[in-house]
Amino acid sequence: MRPTVSGMWKRWAPLGIGVVTGGIIVCGVAIEPVQPGRVAIAREITGAPVGAPAGAGALTCSGGMDYPATVRLVPDAVVTTGGRESVEYHAEIDLHKGGKVGLAWEADVVDDNGQKVASKLAAGTGRGKAGDTAATGAISAQLADGYYMVRVRVAVSPDDAPATVMQAIQYVNVSNGKWREMDDVQWRADSNAHLAFRATTPPTKRGGR
């Protein structure tokens, strides 16, 4: 279980380190200006991570084929507006393969009933090559109390491999204006994500091939 905003993040906030930018970038460290109601979240920026080999010796498969990219959401700041918290993120996209890679990204927020409550956040496009890191602009939304997925989806199109869509999700609960990050287990247990939707007709497809 992750600490709440008022726990871990504020503890590190005085370091005031974060990155918010767009397009293809070389990773670095930026010192953000102080804004009222916005507390930056500390983060050490180390550049594109290398995919770690599986550590367990008994693996029958040391891992599947590599993804062309890695996508992650990075929290940058806690923003308090009218007493309600939200966390501002950006996404980073590390490119692993390809001499020419096309990217298109978009972030949204989906509630636990499958409804989009914010869309086309930080939408953008870019091009790069293996070894580059792209970063989106700020992803931020003021949310009512409830359960949400903050999600960024990235279409990755290497010149020498099939295109694919990769995503990074942060599960969130907003309760009495407090923003709390959740893991997948908490999300599924506490939110409506385990509830089904009513259909009026049978599935479009039959079960056979």
Binding site: L59, T60, V165, D184, A189, P202, T204
Partner: protein, 439 residues
């Protein structure tokens, strides 16, 4: 309504449900309905292609499919299990329930848990995934011929598809249409736990950024992006389990082939990267189960790739995703011979060899053989015939005689497959040669 799911944080064993006992002096009833999920699995054949022999086409993408052959619970308002059953191929179910007193309300819970216990999905903590629609009032009377109809329900939506049920669909198809046709897998492929979706799961397989499988542990771990890329993820990893349980071998796992004298190569693999024979074989073989699940033996452009979309660029297979490489007839050897990346060592070459063993498509080179037509289960069970030992073409060929070191990294490769298949079924030398003679 949340109460049930909090209680149904079931440890990854289903013995409680399967051990359900009808109470004596019971009130009984029947409930029927249908479970579906919103499918956004990739690896479909796109509409731009003719898709001859494709079982999964673009028309099936982003729409509702049945949750087939999955476990069902009927519960009462106190979360007690009062009935168990399963969906059929089309997601339909009729399940009886029984209770000592009449339940005022009942609910129906669906699990991405193969009804015969072949495999099941759990979260990162090992709790079984499940969904339900809440409680409904119980019909005053119901019977097997007139069950209470609770209607159609689906998990996930186009906006938020559920990765567990998407992966379950791929795994269930692979089991039903491929593995279930092989006797040794009917016997040995059981109770495989599949946890997802995270790159690191402490206490399980640890860090697997690109998913992984452990045959000895009977476990698969799916990474955070694995939910919608079936061929290269859940189908592939379950293929490793099938390979292992067909004939367990001493694990190797060296993916660092490089030309003699050069530093070791990359510790990961890709379809068109050079690998040691044992690694190329195992990755290709694990992929083969999914390939023949999604493509029929008459397919003209079968593909395999890592993608949540198609393996195509327009109407044609994307670069090095085609399994039917008829551009390499055996009498015109135009295989890539680069010293640093010889095509023979690509896992894709081994995949193409296995595809040609399976398919019923003559590549204009005298390829008249089709295991699909004559030796379906045999071509999938071939590993079982490998002799025990570390000698040539034996199951542990990569190892030295006292199992202290891996000394023949091209052992237990495609050559061994062909040799054992020749002894037990038929000679496929032509098909191996056609595909650059993978070691």
């Amino acid at each position: 309504m949340l109460r049930l799911i909090r209680r149904v944080c079931i440890a990854a064993t289903f013995s409680v449900a399967l051990g359900y006992v009808t109470p004596a002096q019971a009130v009984t009833g029947y409930v029927r309905g249908n479970w579906a999920f919103w499918n956004q699995n990739g690896n479909y054949c796109p509409s731009a292609n003719t898709c001859t022999g494709a079982y999964y086409t673009q028309s099936g993408f982003d729409t509702l499919w049945p949750v087939s052959n999955a476990a069902i619970w009927v519960v009462d308002s106190s979360d007690a299990i009062i009935g168990t059953g399963a969906t059929d191929d089309d997601g339909n179910y009729t399940v009886s329930w029984s209770r000592s007193t009449f339940p005022s309300q009942i609910g129906v819970v669906i699990f991405p848990y193969q009804k015969d216990g072949r495999f099941y999905f759990a979260n990162t903590d090992g709790q079984l995934i499940n969904n339900w629609f809440g409680l409904v009032n119980t019909a005053s009377s119901s019977s097997e011929t007139s069950p209470q109809d609770v209607g159609y329900w689906h998990v996930g939506s186009s906006t938020a598809p559920d990765p567990f049920y998407n992966a379950y669909w791929a795994a269930e198809w692979q089991w039903r249409y491929t593995m279930n046709l092989v006797g040794i897998l009917q016997t040995n492929f059981n109770n495989v736990q599949i946890r997802g979706f995270a790159n690191t799961i402490s206490g399980y397989q640890g860090t697997c950024n690109t998913s992984c499988a452990s045959g000895p542990a009977n476990q698969v771990q799916l990474d955070s992006n694995a939910g919608f890329a079936p061929q290269a993820r859940v189908m592939h990893e379950l293929g490793h389990i099938a390979s292992y349980v067909t004939h367990p071998w001493a694990l190797t796992g060296d993916y660092t082939w490089s030309p003699p004298g050069d530093p070791p190569g990359a510790a990961s693999w890709c379809q068109d990267c050079p690998e040691w024979g044992v690694a190329a074989f195992e990755e290709a073989w694990a992929t083969h189960y999914g390939s023949i699940t999604l493509w029929a033996d008459n397919a003209e452009t079968p593909t395999t790739c890592l993608s949540s979309g198609p393996c195509y660029s327009g109407a044609s297979p994307a670069f090095h995703t085609d399994l039917e490489a008829s551009s390499y007839p055996f009498n015109t050897n135009n295989c890539g011979l680069s010293a640093s990346n010889p095509e023979a060592r690509w896992p894709l070459s081994a995949m193409r060899y296995f595809w040609d063993v399976f398919d019923n498509h003559n590549d204009a080179d005298g390829d008249q053989y089709s295991a699909s037509q004559s030796h379906y289960w045999q071509h999938l069970a071939n590993l079982a015939w490998y002799p025990e030992g570390t000698g040539t073409n034996q199951i542990d060929e990569p190892w030295n005689s006292d199992y202290s070191a891996v000394t023949e990294k091209d052992g237990r490769g495609s050559v061994s497959y062909a040799a054992n298949y020749a002894i037990n079924v038929t000679d496929t030398t032509l098909l191996k040669t056609d595909n650059c003679s993978p070691p």
